[in-house]
């Protein structure tokens, strides 16, 4: 068999691509340039940690990727498809079925138990109801036996993990997590990062994790920093 020395495999297509993205916010009195000509690739199987000072635009990147806002210039491409070319319904469908999101504030509905919150998220994707799948998701985030509790009866860390189970309920290809791990205690943060890493490895989940916590960031595949409107790779 002939051997080709030095041949390289073609670079894998990124799951998510930001290309030349600019975003400006305007109000009556002034204009704020959040970033200009931003580029970012998120790959399957990778946990990308995003760091940067408060107000640097990290959450804006999450909103752009999730299709909650459109860039002033540039492209957001999800799995080969330009998000800007999608209809509202198509964007909603991608969000519901392929992207999981978890925020610092949590997004649990307070009048539903943890298990109902997870079941609800699965229902929105059109997935068959499965008590076993809901229990398994709660078990994976360390909440076995806590599913029947309402959010008000969960500790802050438990509620955050329930929110993660909600975000993973649609078996997403991409998980967007905005300061969702840093506020967990150290042991729980490691448990959650282990879970994300095993999902990244086993089924190619791509993760974008906004975090202030250096120890959490050290557990990711790589870290990018958003500083004065530019992304810099640091590891």
């Amino acid at each position: 068999m002939p051997t080709t020395i030095g041949a390289t495999l073609p670079a894998p297509e990124p799951l998510l691509l930001l290309q030349g993205v600019s975003k400006t916010f305007q109000n009556a009195s002034d204009t704020t340039i959040v970033f200009r000509d931003l580029a970012l690739e998120l790959h399957r199987g990778e946990i990308t940690c995003l760091q940067g000072p408060s107000g640097s635009g990290k959450s804006t990147i999450i909103s752009l990727i999730a299709g909650l806002m459109v860039p002033d210039a540039g492209r957001v491409v999800f799995d080969g498809q330009d998000v800007g070319d999608m209809t509202d319904a198509e964007r909603s469908q991608v969000r519901a079925t392929r992207i999981g999101t978890v925020l610092q504030s949590g997004n649990l509905l307070p009048f539903l138990t943890a298990a109902e919150n997870v079941a609800m998220a699965r229902r929105l994707t059109g997935a068959e109801h499965s008590t076993e799948r809901v229990a398994s998701l709660l078990d994976q985030v360390g909440l076995a036996g806590r599913g029947h509790h309402l959010p008000r009866r969960l500790s802050g860390g438990e509620a955050q993990r329930a929110a993660l189970a909600v975000a993973l309920a649609n078996d997403p290809d991409l998980l967007l997590a905005d300061e969702a791990v840093g506020q967990l205690d150290a042991a729980t943060a490691v448990l959650v990062m282990d879970l994300l890493e095993s999902m990244a490895r086993a089924r190619g989940l791509a993760v974008l994790l906004v975090t202030h916590d250096e120890e959490v960031a050290a557990l990711g595949s790589r870290t990018v920093r958003l500083i004065e409107g530019h992304l810099e790779a640091t590891a």
């Binding site: 009048f111 138990t113 298990a115 929105l124 309402l150 008000r152």
Partner: protein
């Protein structure tokens, strides 16, 4: 535990009509706290006519939010009986109580708890899914129109003002035609103008739909607009006054 969210759909608004009667007797609630056992409610009795509105007022820590949580099936009392219509929710199995909570009740809290990655319309539609009712897009739109947010259905919560967001939360609480709407400080984070607007719309829709309405509030102006006001202190009901009609 029942978390079956796949009930056979019934037409939206199927439960509309007379609201649920509330009858509470001998209600007490105790729980452990770091500083010892707390008696949050102490022998509370309460009666609310179907389709009427009630305000619960009192200082912080008087037990009013605990009471609302028990009425809504979010908490189980230590003692006493709570009847919502034909249902004794104080002694119901957890799964049945959860199903009732999703189908018959509507909730509004001080925080709007909107899902940031769903549009306004999708957020409102959540409750229809939970209640297992068919969600006619025209019905959802009519409700948004009635709340003066008819043009905002495709927007995301972050793109709305605080008053608009809370009106979306009101729409979510009403879209499935609940028999009982429970609101815990629904205007607590709003300025007086927006507060007035939200209360006015909540009252108008509660009357149109016929739902029973219970509002916990520290705001006397909000309380004064309800049919009756219950004043609480230290876990007990001090007085009940009906508004002069």
């Amino acid at each position: 535990m029942s978390i079956d969210l796949h009930q056979d759909p019934s037409p939206a608004g199927g439960s509309q009509g007379p609201g649920e009667r509330i009858a509470v007797t001998g209600l007490s609630m105790e729980y452990d706290s770091p500083s010892g056992q707390v008696r949050a409610l102490d022998d509370v009795a309460l009666s609310v006519e179907p389709g009427s509105s009630l305000a619960v007022v009192g200082p912080s820590g008087c037990g009013k939010s605990t009471l609302l949580g028990i009425l809504g099936g979010l908490e189980v009392p230590t003692e006493g009986e709570v009847r919502i219509g034909a249902h004794v929710i104080s002694s119901m199995p957890n799964g049945e109580r959860a199903a009732l909570r999703r189908r018959v009740f509507g909730f509004v809290f001080q925080a709007d708890n909107l899902q940031p990655f769903l549009t306004v319309s999708e957020n409102v539609g959540l409750q229809s899914v939970l209640a297992g009712v068919l969600d006619e897009p025209s019905g959802r739109q009519a409700l948004l129109d009635a709340l003066d947010i008819g043009a905002l259905g495709h927007r995301f919560p972050d793109q709305l003002s605080g008053g608009q967001r809370q009106r979306v939360a009101v729409a979510r609480a009403l879209v499935h035609g609940p028999g009982l709407v429970l609101a815990d400080e629904p205007t607590g984070s709003l300025d007086p103008v927006n507060s007035d607007r939200v209360v006015e719309l909540l009252l108008r829709l509660h009357r149109e739909q016929g739902a029973t309405l219970v509002v916990v509030t520290h705001d006397r102006a909000v309380a004064a607009r309800m049919d009756a006001v219950v004043s609480m202190r230290d876990g007990r009901v001090l007085a009940t006054e009906a508004r002069q009609l």
